[in-house]
């Protein structure tokens, strides 16, 4: 029997997802990660649930938005945990799913291993898992 599932629709965050960083424009990928994706994933991780991220219904995405959001998730929790728990649903543009799984996650996993921290353009504190699997906080700015 599979794990319980939690649903996260980006449409609930914004109908018009914006650029990569918060400093570049409204509803950025960075802000989406900090405000919604990180807490949702952390909750699912603690409660042993799967997270379904729904990309459908918005006006469209810039690749940088998704790269930043799912990239930071990979940086904070590791590719294996993300692949294990997150499933991306995109009926409108299934190409995004392949991009995130095949390119974004491997690239940011490399950054995680190289300790190349993500650029921050807003004040935030997120929780991430260190190499030993222990929860730690990471702050932006």
């Amino acid at each position: 029997m599979g794990r319980e599932k939690e649903h996260l629709a980006i449409l609930d965050y914004s109908e018009y997802p914006g650029p990569r960083y918060d400093s570049q424009g409204p509803d950025s990928g960075e802000k989406f990660y900090v405000k919604l994706l990180n807490p949702s994933f952390l909750r699912c991780f603690r409660e042993d649930k799967d997270l379904i991220v729904d990309l459908d219904g918005t006006a469209g995405y810039a690749s940088s938005f998704l790269d930043e959001a799912f990239g930071q998730l990979t940086y904070d929790f590791g590719a294996d945990r993300v692949k294990d728990r997150v499933s991306i649903q995109s009926l409108d543009e299934p190409e995004w799913r392949s991009m995130i799984n095949d390119e974004t996650i491997p690239q940011w996993e490399k950054r995680r291993n190289d300790h190349q921290a993500p650029k921050a353009t807003m004040e935030y504190t997120v929780i991430h898992l260190n190499e030993s699997g222990l929860e730690e906080t990471r702050s932006g700015l």
Binding site: Y16, G18, P19, R20, Y21, Q24, G25, A59, G60, Y61, A62, S63, S64, D67, E93, E95, M99
Partner: protein
């Protein structure tokens, strides 16, 4: 009616049927295929124009970041619909047009210019970025040209494959209408109704050929019987004549012996030089009476 007449008539029937098949099926299929090709080529030209206009506005810095996202969202659906449809129609094996378009879009929205000028009314790309976009635009046009060539040279799906697709579409339609198992019956009914003229022509043709062949066989038998009777009458007449000759000879001869036997002889006057039954008469022995 002779056998050669039957062959000649059958020849006419077969010629008419072949003519019907060529004019009605082959020619009709070709004209339909041409119409389909023209439609897709026209659509391809429109897609090319739209891509050209989009890249032109990117180079001139005439659109905002949100305009680029909106354009891709709308245009991608149109291109992927075209991509799928044209592949089904002509059985093409080309790289996906929508995937190539998506790859280009990804690069554009990944760029620093796009993101840093997200709030601005217009995005201005650097010469380096414009050069990269130019190369990607060229690849798109190259792919569009390949589509154009392949569509124009495609023979379309085979007749049976085409029919199968048509029936599958009808079946899917009735299934979606909730007809369940009755979908098959509905598909057969539709097929019969849409081909009623052809079916009638086929049935009438088969009926005519079968009845014609049956009549021809009967007539052939009757002719043979009549010919045999004629031969018997002719032989009887010959034998009667022989008897008359023998009687007249018997007045002048003693111990007259005549032998009559049926033989086959060729008749040079007949067209086919057929072997005809004849009667050969031989006087075996005769002794003249002494005066």
């Amino acid at each position: 009616m002779s056998f050669s007449d039957i062959i000649a008539l059958l020849n006419i029937v077969v010629t008419v049927l072949i003519g019907f098949v060529i004019t009605h099926m082959v020619s009709l299929r070709d004209s339909r295929m041409r119409a389909m090709k023209d439609y897709y080529i026209d659509e391809l030209a429109k897609i090319r124009d739209e891509i050209c206009e989009f890249y032109s506005s990117l180079y001139r810095g005439m659109c905002s970041s949100q305009d680029i996202i909106d354009w891709h969202k709308g245009f991608k659906n149109r291109v992927s619909g075209f991509d799928e449809s044209v592949r089904n129609a002509f059985n093409l094996h080309l790289p996906s047009l929508s995937k190539q378009l998506f790859a280009n879009y990804r690069q554009i929205t990944y760029s620093e210019e796009f993101n840093f000028q997200f709030r601005d009314k217009f995005v201005h790309f650097s010469p380096r970025e414009r050069s990269r976009m130019g190369r990607e635009e060229k690849e798109l046009y190259h792919l569009l040209d390949q589509f154009l060539y392949d569509i124009n040279h495609s023979g379309g799906p085979d007749f049976l494959v085409n029919k199968w697709q048509e029936l599958s579409h009808h079946f899917s339609y009735y299934c979606s209408e909730g007809k369940g198992l009755c979908s098959v019956i509905c598909v057969i009914r539709d097929w019969l109704l849409s081909h009623i003229t052809r079916i009638l022509i086929l049935v009438v043709s088969i009926f005519l050929v079968v009845s014609f062949l049956a009549n021809a066989k009967r007539m052939l038998n009757t002719n043979e019987e009549k010919e045999a009777a004629d031969v018997v009458i002719a032989l009887d007449s010959i034998r009667a004549d022989i008897r008359v000759i023998a009687n007249s000879l018997s007045q002048d001869t003693t111990s007259l012996s005549i032998e009559s036997m049926p033989v086959l002889s060729s008749d040079s006057s007949a067209i086919n030089s057929e072997l005809l039954p004849c009667e050969e008469v031989q006087i075996i022995s005769a002794t003249k009476k002494s005066q």
